[in-house]
Structure formats: C-alpha cells, structure tokens
C-alpha cells in the first residue's frame, strides 16, 4: 500500500482519537462531570486508541507490548480490558448508539454467562496448545533456540497473537486480510482465522464472527469480553494465590453501608455478580474489568470504592444530580 496514504490515515486517526478525547475532557471540565467515571473512561479509551494506532504503525516488537500488558495487569488487574482495549471501545460505542436509539439491552442468563466466562480458558488453552501440538507432531531436526522460537511464533496459530489480537487489527486497518472491492476489512482475530483456515473458509468464518460480535455487541453490552481469551489470560494472573496482592486496582465494598439494592449488579456491563454477592472487602473475581460503573452508580456514599493499593481513588457518592450527562 502507498506509504503516503498510510501516513494520512495514521495522522487522521490519531487526530480523531485525540480530538474526541479532548471534546470529552472539555465536557467533563465544563459541565462539572468530574464524578462521571464513564466519561473519564471514554477519554482514556480514545487517547489509548490514538496511542496504540501510533505505536503499531511503527511495528514495535509485539513481545514488548505483551510484557507491558502483563506488567499492567499484574498491578492494575484487568484495567486494560476496561479502559484501553480498542475492541472494547467499539462495543462501548455500540452501546452508546443503542442508548441513543432508546433500545433496551438483553441480558444473558447468569448460568450461561458464567459458562461463557469459563469458556474463555478453553479458547485460550486451545490457541496456546495447538502450535505446541503441531510442533510436537513434526519435531524439528535441529534444536536451535532461535529456530524453535521462530517456528513457535510463526506457526499457523501464533500464540502471542491470541493475546494482542483484539488490539492490532482494530487499530491498523490495513493488516486485515479480508478484502472486498479493494477495501481492507480488519477485525479482531482476522489474521489468525485466515491464516489457519485459508482464504475462503476463513473469510466465511470471519464474516460470521464479525456479524456475531457486531450485532451481539449492539444488544448485549460488551459481548466479546465474556469469551475473550485475552481477558482470560489477563484475569488468570489474579487467580493465583501468590498474586493475591496483585490487582492493586480493585473494587472494595463496605459491608455495613451496603443495603443490597442491586444497582451494582444491574449496571455492570459484564454482568458480574460478585460485587453484589460478596459480603464485603476486596472483590475477588477474574471477570471484573474495573470499569467502575458500579462505583459510579452506587447510591450510598462510600459503599463501593475503587482502590489502588490501600488508597481509595474513587468512591461512590450521592449521584443524585439531574441526569444531564446521559
């Protein structure tokens, strides 16, 4: 593709991302919406989108991105999923569109939702183990480390791409391999599906995936985040006992102040029940993506807190202002 065009797209997208972030920031400042985490989150998502776009066009070694991601996750929990992920941004925008059209959202039954959350691990393991299995079926003659790594990373399923795919294809549209009328369509997991299945079948699968997530995302809030293998790999870090301290950014609940009004359960875009079900203290779940919507909506002062370590960064308060923001 023409480098000139790429450059233009790059500049425009970064500009658009930053512009949206700027507009939202001005809105927060002007309308005194500092208490609205939702707006802050959109600002960060827009900025992150612009930044990722910028980084990926210089093709940074993906290993660095991965390491950065794990470090962030270790310290901040699934902060990445809620506040950075561009695929998440797409689904958030769809939700906003749905809100604007005054359509209701659908709810996945709790048991199915939990099953979906579990199926993340299966998907994750499948993607991670297939290259190893393929590698074992056809063992290399020469046990050179570089060759081994190269084979692992370049195989039909590239394990690392499971982790970053929700990020790249959305950000860099010209890496997509689905070409219709000379337009590049790009989407999460596009490269993988096509690389594995071949052009034709891959495109069919890809189309199916796109329809499911796009239409599903319109009716169900954050639909893909429920199966996302990236989310699983990030969530799994916080599951180990040794990392009990790990998600420094977490939601904390004060048991005595809570009247169990159920608002936190209903507003959660991932339908996480733990915030409601747990007695109090630090909320321990690998499903929560700390988007802090529950903290924002909790109507009792100081009941839910978004804590960074022991310091509370954001506390639920009386949000009883007239609903200018929505």
């Amino acid at each position: 593709m023409d480098w000139q065009l790429i450059g233009d797209i790059l500049r425009l997208t970064v500009l658009a991302g930053l512009g949206i972030a700027g507009i939202l920031a001005v809105l927060i400042w002007k309308k005194n919406l500092a208490t609205k985490v939702t707006f802050l989150r959109l600002v960060i998502q827009a900025v992150a989108f612009a930044a990722l776009f910028y980084f990926f066009t210089f093709s940074i070694p993906l290993l660095y991105v991965l390491i950065g991601l794990f470090v962030v996750t270790l310290f901040l929990g699934r902060f990445y999923c809620g506040w950075v992920c561009p695929f998440g941004l797409i689904m958030d925008l769809e939700s906003m569109l749905r809100k604007a059209l005054k359509k209701r959202y659908r709810i996945i039954p709790d048991r199915l939702n939990r099953a979906l959350h579990k199926s993340r691990y299966a998907i994750f393991l499948f993607f991670m183990l297939t290259p190893i299995a393929l590698w074992l079926l056809d063992p290399p003659q020469n046990f050179d480390f570089a060759v081994m790594m190269a084979r692992l990373l370049a195989g039909p399923f590239r394990p690392y791409s499971v982790l970053i795919d929700p990020m790249i294809p959305n950000v860099v549209p010209w890496t997509g391999q689905l070409i219709i009328n000379d337009i590049n369509f790009s989407y999460a997991y596009a490269q993988d599906i096509i690389a594995f299945m071949g052009e034709n079948i891959g495109q069919i699968f890809l189309l199916a995936f796109v329809t499911v997530t796009l239409i599903g995302g319109f009716f169900i809030r954050r639909v893909w985040c429920r199966f996302c293998p990236t989310g699983a790999s990030l969530g799994v870090i916080n599951r180990f006992k040794a990392f009990k301290w790990a998600p420094l950014l977490h939601i904390y609940k004060d048991e005595e102040k809570c009247t169990k009004c159920g608002v936190c359960k209903r507003v959660c875009p991932l339908q996480v029940n733990e915030v409601y079900d747990q007695k109090g203290g630090k909320i321990e779940t690998s499903q929560c993506m700390v988007c802090a919507r529950c903290v924002e909506m909790c109507p009792y002062e100081g009941t839910l807190q978004l804590k960074l370590g022991n310091k509370s960064t954001f506390t639920s308060r009386n949000w009883l202002e007239p609903s200018k923001s929505e």
Partner: protein, 443 residues
Amino acid sequence: MNKAALEKKYTPEMPRKEIDELRSTIKAASQRVIAENIERMKKADPHRPEAMKYFDDIADLFGQRQKEIQAEKEKGKKVIGYMCLFAPTELILAADAIPVRVNSGWYDTSKLGDRVVPVEVCPVLRSTIGAKMIELSPFLEQSDALISVLTCDGMTKLSEILSDYKPIWGMNIPRVKDSTQSLRFWKDEIKHMKTQIEKFTGNKITRKKLKEAIETSHRATKAFRRLQDLRKGPPVIMGRDAMLVNQAYVWDDKKRWTEKTEALCDELEKRLERKDWVCPPDTPRVLVTGTPMFWPDNWKLPTLVEEANPRGIIVADEQCSGERILNDPIGVDEWSMDDMLNAIGERYLMASTCPCFTSQDGNEDRINWLLNKVKEWNVQGVIYYVVRGCMLYAMEYTRVKKALDKINVPIYYLDTEYTREDVGQMKTRVEAFLEMLTARVDF
C-alpha cells in the same frame, strides 16, 4: 345491593347519623391534637426554622392539602392511595395521578376497628379500618383506588376489608428478597401495575413522563439526604421536626416538598454556622426503629423523648414512616422504558429493609443498615418501638439487640398501644433509659 355483595362485606353497617357524629367528634379531637403537637414542637425549639411553617400547615390533614387534592380531583385527576411503601409512586406520578399514603395514626379510630377485628391485631390496621368506617381520613376518602402491597399478614387482610369500599390492587411481594426468581416475579408485578394504572387513569405512561417522575423523586431524595446529613453533626433540628418533614412527603406535592425541604436545609446550614444548637450538643442522641409512627396521634414517643427530663434528641430513625420513604434512589442505568421499570422494581424490593423480608442470611441488610446508622449519626442509644400486634418487628428484636450489644450501644424495647393511657408509664421508662444514656455520656 344484592345479597352476595352484602354477605361479602366485612365491616358492619353503621347508621349515617352515627358515622357523622363520630366523625365530627374525632375530627375535632384530632385537629386539637395536631395543633397541640405543633405547639409543643414550636416550644421545644426557641429558634425554630422559618421554613418549618410550611410543614406545620401541610401537617394539618384536614386543611390545605386536602382542598388542593379535591381541586385536582375535580379537574379530572385520579388519586391513588397506597398502604405500604412498596407501591411504585413513580408510576402513579407518571400517569398524572396523585399518590397518597393512607395509613392512619388516629388513636380513637382504632377502638372502632375493634368492632371488625380483634384487639390483638396491629393497631395501625385497626385504626385504618376505623377511619374508613367513619370516613375520617381525607386521603383515604379521596383516593379512587388503593394499591395494597401484601407485606405483613395484617396488610394482606386489611386490603380485603377495605375492598368493601374501594377497588384494591394487590401486589404480591416475594418474601425472599435477594433471589433471582423473586426479582423476576416482582418485576412482572411492577409491569402489571403499570398497565393497571394506565388503564385506570386513561393516561399512557410514556418514557418521557416516567423519566420525569423518576427525576422528581431523585430530587426529593437529594433534599432528604441533605437534611439527613445535617442531622449527623450537633443537633440543629429537633427530631420531631425532621420526622414530620419526612412524613409529609407521602401526602404532599412532591415538587413543592422538595423545594421547601431545600429551603429548610439552607436555613439549617446557616444555623450550623452560627452554632445555634437546638439543645446542648451533649444531649443523648437517640435512634428510633420499629413500627411506623403515623402523624398525627401516634407522636407520643418522639414527644416524650424530646421533652423528657433528661432530654434526648432523635437524630435518625429506621422506620417506614420515616427515613425509609426516601432513602433509596432509583438507580437507572439507561433511560429506556425497560431499564427504568427494572430499576423501579429493584429499588422497591431489594433496597428495602422492611422486616417482612427474609434472605439467605436472614434480613442481614436491616441490621447492617442499623449498625451503619449508629456509626454515621453517632447514635448513643436505640429505642426499639413496637406496637402490640406487630409481630415482625417484635420478633426481629433479639437479633438487632445482639448486633448492637457487640458494638456496645444500649437498646431499649418499648412496646405500646394506640392509646394515650400509657403515656405516664412510658415517660418513666423513656426517662430511665435517657438517664442511663446521660450517665454513659458523662462517663
């Protein structure tokens, strides 16, 4: 009237003359009681806020507000009464009808209720039946239909008895409040109530109207919470005044009530700056919980506490005639019809701390909420007020006592009736408790 309908009737036929006589005497007595209560409230606080004057006027049940509702009714508005707080008032407001609460606090009518139900029954119900028999309560008379939420056993049967007179819409409330299936069930009830109200009033509840109604009650909750926060510090308002303000919400116009309460809060904030306390800041701070206390007659406990020697001050209450009316806002996530209805359902079911519920951990919410209140409002003693026949509150006492014993806050169980005869005896009991609290404060 045909025979079947006559047989169904619960209440005895009373001659018209007797009804009128009884009504005029009890009404006159009641007006005297209202005036006396207000007079005593005025005397208790020498610098009573100006804004309280509005609430004094609105507190006269036979006065201004009754006439207003009558005028609205003549214009074609419907009045929908309700007994328990679970009735979705936002839906009533959204259908351009007027919600009023019709529970009665008259002592004298409870004796009339004895003709229908035995004395062992909760006096709130007996009094409501009696008030209906002699057509005393203006709001009960004016309401075109009643929403009865079947909470305690008494309320369930009361709705049957009142169905002699008015169309009654029963709302079935699940008793386990935190399970998914009960929530589903209750949301269906709310949706059904919506269609019922729409059919009855002839006004469609649109998304816009419902949003407006919810925002109205949000603003009211905001004003209410402001008042509550002001009571956290040294006392700037008598407990009775605040309780009256809270209770006036159930029959007042919601928007006007919000305005006036905000004005009251402005005044109290100034008072806080002046450090003009209603009583010495070391007065024992009391929380009242238990059976609802309805204006006008059933005002004896707050009066006793705040006029006793040594004096106490009520800084908070946990009653469905008080703070439970407005404490919980409706948490709407998205302003679509569906989500608004879900939010209304959840607010009325899940946030409530009424003892008619149980949950997997046994209505833990109420105890947690009480403990939180004791801490936040610096409460030094809790009075657990129960009228005879109120089983739910009486049976929950032991658990509440255990929880409060753990944090070393004294609790006193005070049982009484709808009668003025035991005031002297109650006074001794309340004063003994307050004396103990004062000693603890000094200590």
